[in-house]
Structure formats: structure tokens, C-alpha cells
Symmetry: C2
Subunit: 189 residues, 2 copies
């Protein structure tokens, strides 16, 4: 997706340890029009797939997910990273964050993830794929069908795609970063 | 806002201690079309106010904020509740959450909140107003002008509005709950 790639090259910042900071337009300050374009491109890629629910994880996945849900007129569910005090009947899976070097949980109420659901998972980053594995686990627990995953940015050198495709799940990323070595952003064209 | 009030009466659940759960359509599962209608109503109420940035707090404020930002073509910034490792120059304020009985921080990078900003703050709930006070503090630190606040649901009996209006800031809520006593939802008509 050219608009996105150009924007990453213009406004993305690279840090030691394979960190790409895009907080000018994706995960702190948000560019709503870019989010709409991202949603449209994901809709185009999944045009021939039956979807009846968009799932994401708080917080940076919510903007692209709600845009997709709005354009497709589908409900959106965001997995919570902490179990809320008022959520009784919930599904939970443990996720290890490499970036933050700690475990967290992804939780979805059983009410909002069921065997009737054909789920598209949307998130801002695909890195090691641990959040994606957590969502795969939640869908399995719920008996929901996970029909695909869509990411704004994939850090291909962290190999998250492998586990997703090994499970037979389609994976689409709108910008694929091949390397952040020497703090230089190399995007696949 | 009638659609919203009807939806709260239909799908909202009341718990002991003044807790209103709206996780079927606002803060776990999201109804994107309702979010768009909420954004339109807030835009209507602030029609004569000059705004150049929408601010919210992760996570449940992001959906209405991005819809407003999209419709108004304005940037959206969501305050983070934890200081990210890659955010160097940031403004921070301490917030006490009554619901969770603990302190957290609201953080915004200095890059994205500046003296040029005319800010509308948008969030899902106005309860005791502590998050709102945190945002007022951040805007003051940044020298930004806080032109108003917009909430989806106000729990009027928790008096959050007082501190906002005492500071001379306009406050709009789309559904005002007068009482949740005896687990009965009483909404102002």
C-alpha cells in the first residue's frame, strides 16, 4: 500500500533493537483519513472472504478495526489486556510481549466470541506473532472460525507470519519491513 | 441523544456500587454505526467551536474519537496510561481511578500537544471526572487550549461535571444517568 509505505518512510522513526516508532500517525497520534484508507485496503484484500466480526486488541488496533467495522457494518470486539472486574464469563490467553519483555493476557467475553463467528483479526503490528497466537487460542476456545488476519505493518524479520500460516490462516500486511538494521527502514516494494 | 439512551436502556447492565456495564456496544464489543452517530452528535453540539485536535484516553475513547477525527478531518491523539519506552519528551499527569481504586498516569508526547492546539477531549464515560482533570492538567502543561469535553455517558451522581465547569470548560454528555440506585438505570430525558 503505497500511501502507507511513503508515510512510514517519511514519519517513521527507527530505534536500536528493531523498534519502529510510528506514533505520529498510527499509535499515539492517529491520522483518521489514513486509517480509513487502511480499512479500505484490508476490505479489498478480503473481498471474497465471509466475515461477520472484526476482532482487535486494545489500544492501537481499535482505530483500523472500527473503520473496517463501520465500512462493512460489522460489530468490532477489542480484546482487553486485563480482566475487567465486571466481566464474568470470559476467555483468556497468555501472551508474551518481546518488546516489553513481560507477559500479559488477552481476554474476550464468551458473549462476544461464539461458534457462529467468522472472525477477521486486525492489529497495528505483526512482529513475533504472539498477540496473533493469543487470538488464535481465544477463537479455538470459543469455537469461532478465524478467517484471516490483517496488519498495518509487518516486521518480517521477526517471523510472526510463520505461526499464522502454519495454522492455515491467511495473513495480510499492508507494509512489510524487511529490516531495521543500522536504524535504516527497509520496506518491501 | 435518543438512539443512545434507548440502547443503554436495552443493552446496559447495572451492578452494585454504581457500575454501568455497556460492553455490548461501547467498551468491549463496539457498534461502529452507533459510534458514527455519537461522533455526528458531538460535532453538532460543538458546531460553533474552533477545534483542531481531538484528544482521548486509551482504550474505550478511541472509537468515538477516531470517528470524530475522520468526519472533521482532524488528527486524534490518545493519551497512554503507561509511559512507553520510546516516548522521550512527554507530559504526564496522575489520575486516581475510583472504579479500580488505584492510580494511573495519562501521558502525551510534547510533540502532539502544543500551544497551537485547540483541543476537544472525548471519552466514553464521565464519572468522578478524574481522567478529565488529568487531561486539563496535560493541556495546561502544554499551553494548549482545551475548548470543550464530550462524553458518551455521564454518571451525573458522581459529579465529574463540577470540576470541568468550575474551570470554565464546556462539557457535553450524550446520555446523562441520574441514578443507578437499586440497580435501576435512571436516564435524564
Amino acid at each position: 500500500m503505497k500511501t502507507l509505505i511513503d508515510r512510514i518512510l517519511k514519519d517513521g522513526k527507527c530505534y536500536e533493537g528493531g523498534i519502529l516508532k510510528v506514533d505520529k500517525f498510527i499509535n499515539h497520534q492517529l491520522d483518521p483519513n489514513l486509517m480509513k484508507q487502511i480499512a479500505v485496503e484490508l476490505i479489498r484484500r478480503y473481498a471474497s472472504t465471509e466475515i461477520n466480526k472484526i476482532i482487535t486488541v486494545e489500544a492501537s488496533g481499535i482505530a483500523p478495526a472500527i473503520m473496517m467495522g463501520f465500512l462493512l457494518d460489522l460489530p468490532v470486539v477489542f480484546a482487553k489486556k486485563k480482566k475487567p472486574s465486571t466481566m464474568a464469563d470470559m476467555l483468556s490467553s497468555t501472551v508474551f510481549s518481546f518488546t516489553k519483555q513481560r507477559e500479559y493476557h488477552v481476554c474476550i467475553s464468551k458473549e462476544y466470541l461464539t461458534p457462529e463467528d467468522k472472525v477477521l483479526f486486525v492489529d497495528d503490528f505483526l512482529a513475533y506473532g504472539n498477540a496473533a497466537k493469543g487470538i488464535m487460542d481465544l477463537c479455538k476456545q470459543a469455537g469461532a472460525e478465524l478467517v484471516g488476519m490483517g496488519f498495518i505493518i509487518e516486521k518480517a524479520f521477526q517471523n510472526g507470519r510463520e505461526a499464522i500460516e502454519a495454522a492455515g490462516i491467511r495473513c495480510e500486511s499492508l507494509a512489510i519491513i524487511d529490516s531495521l538494521d543500522n536504524c535504516e527502514i527497509k520496506i518491501r516494494q
